[in-house]
């Protein structure tokens, strides 16, 4: 493997095991790595990739496929995706075998309950980091607030908010 592929594999494999709360909890670390440390892309490009991962079907974790492709083409896409998925899936497979045996155990409840605030903090940090990259005008801030309100207080499919936001962007109002 070329050095850049090794870097991708190492960072995403590590990230995979520390992403408590899911792929979105690891967004700031991906941003830190891709924009601040490795200078693979600009803030704007990172926000673009976040947007593409959100609007394409499937788990949001596929943002790593985009980052990998951006850095090292098809090989990068493959390596980044596998690195992000294989360690945690192996862990899931192993834990699933014993998990139900400890149903009701106090330590199991402590782990589950204890990780909830951690994942909330990480997800909030993700929202903050992506908001700083994405919300660079008052109109963009308004779109963010409106979408959050729609998703919180209505049962409307958020796809509509995305479609309207895309049109506002296309019209050059941002």
């Amino acid at each position: 493997m070329t050095p850049v592929l090794v870097t991708l594999a190492g960072h995403f494999a590590l990230l995979s095991l520390f992403a408590i709360g899911g792929a979105n909890a690891a967004i700031p670390e991906m941003h830190r790595l891709a924009v601040d440390v490795m200078h693979w892309m600009s803030d704007r490009q990172f926000a673009d990739m976040f947007a593409m991962a959100q609007i394409s079907p499937g788990p949001n974790v596929i943002i790593v496929t985009l980052i990998g492709y951006h850095v090292a083409g098809f090989a990068g896409a493959l390596v980044a995706t596998a690195a992000m998925i294989v360690p945690t899936c192996t862990l899931a497979f192993l834990v699933a075998r014993v998990w139900d045996r400890f149903k009701g155990a106090r330590w199991r409840k402590a782990i589950q309950g204890g990780l909830v605030p951690v994942s909330i903090g990480l997800m909030a940090a993700s929202a903050f980091v992506v908001a700083r990259a994405a919300d660079q005008s008052w109109v963009a801030v308004a779109i963010t607030i409106a979408t959050a309100a729609i998703a919180c207080f209505t049962r409307l499919n958020p796809l509509w908010a995305f479609a309207v936001a895309a049109l506002i962007g296309l019209a050059g109002l941002l």
Binding site: L15, S16, F18, E29, R32, Q45, A47, D48, F50, A51, M52, A53, Q54, I55, P57, G58, P59, N60, I62, T65, L66, Y69, H70, I85, T88, C89, L91, A92, F93, W99, R106, A110, Q112, G113, G114, P117, V118, I120, G121, L122, A127, V129, V130, A131, A133, A134, Q136, A140, A149, I150, A151, C152, L159, A161, F162, A165, A166, G169, L170, L174
Partner: protein, 187 residues
């Protein structure tokens, strides 16, 4: 490994059904695949009861890494061991990877075009809003219960990552054991 749920009124998927089922989840799962996984597994196929689904998903959620991806492995292995886990994972990830690679190629050619940039700028602003809503829904039960300690722990995690830009592994290695210990002491 769990015995198959002989006692519960659920049906047993074959490997092919597992694969096709998770392809369906992956293609309909916009903005998080969880509601679609629940709809397929509990309501349409009746492979699990609602309680079994919640139990299996809570495991997938507390494990690190993408929740729905973990869930596909937990679910697949329950019904088909390692091959079951592999086909469920392949079904969930295969189509999205192909689609996103297509988008990546388009972006690498046209990412500099102003119109595409403006569209993505609008969408990313909306996507942030969706993420904020997810965080709010997760945080609401904590806030409503008035539990100060978990709220403080979440706030520390936020400050460490968002404002101090500390590396994620450091933050987890310190914060997660503290938080679990507190949950152990005061359940």
């Amino acid at each position: 490994m769990l015995p198959p749920n002989v006692q519960s009124p659920v049906k047993q998927p074959t490997l092919t059904e597992l694969f096709v089922g998770f392809v369906g989840v992956s293609l309909s799962g916009f903005g998080g695949a969880l509601p679609w996984a629940r709809r397929m597994i509990v309501e349409r196929k009746q492979w699990m009861t609602a309680e079994e689904f919640n139990e299996a998903f809570s495991l997938a959620q507390f494990l690190p890494g993408p929740n729905v991806v973990n869930f596909s492995v937990v679910f697949g292995s329950r019904f088909g061991g390692a091959p079951g886990a592999a086909v469920a994972l392949a079904g969930l990830m295969g189509p999205p990877i192909l689609i996103i690679t297509g988008l990546a190629i388009i972006y690498s050619y046209y990412g500099d075009i102003a119109a595409l940039g403006r569209i993505l700028a609008g969408i990313s602003a909306a996507a942030v809003g969706l993420l904020i809503a997810t965080v709010a829904k997760m945080a609401w039960p904590l806030l409503r219960a008035g539990s100060m300690v978990p709220a403080l722990l979440a706030a520390i995690g936020f400050v460490a990552i968002a404002l101090l830009h500390l590396p994620l592994p450091w933050v987890i290695v310190v914060l997660a054991p503290v938080s679990v210990a507190i949950a152990w002491i005061r359940p």
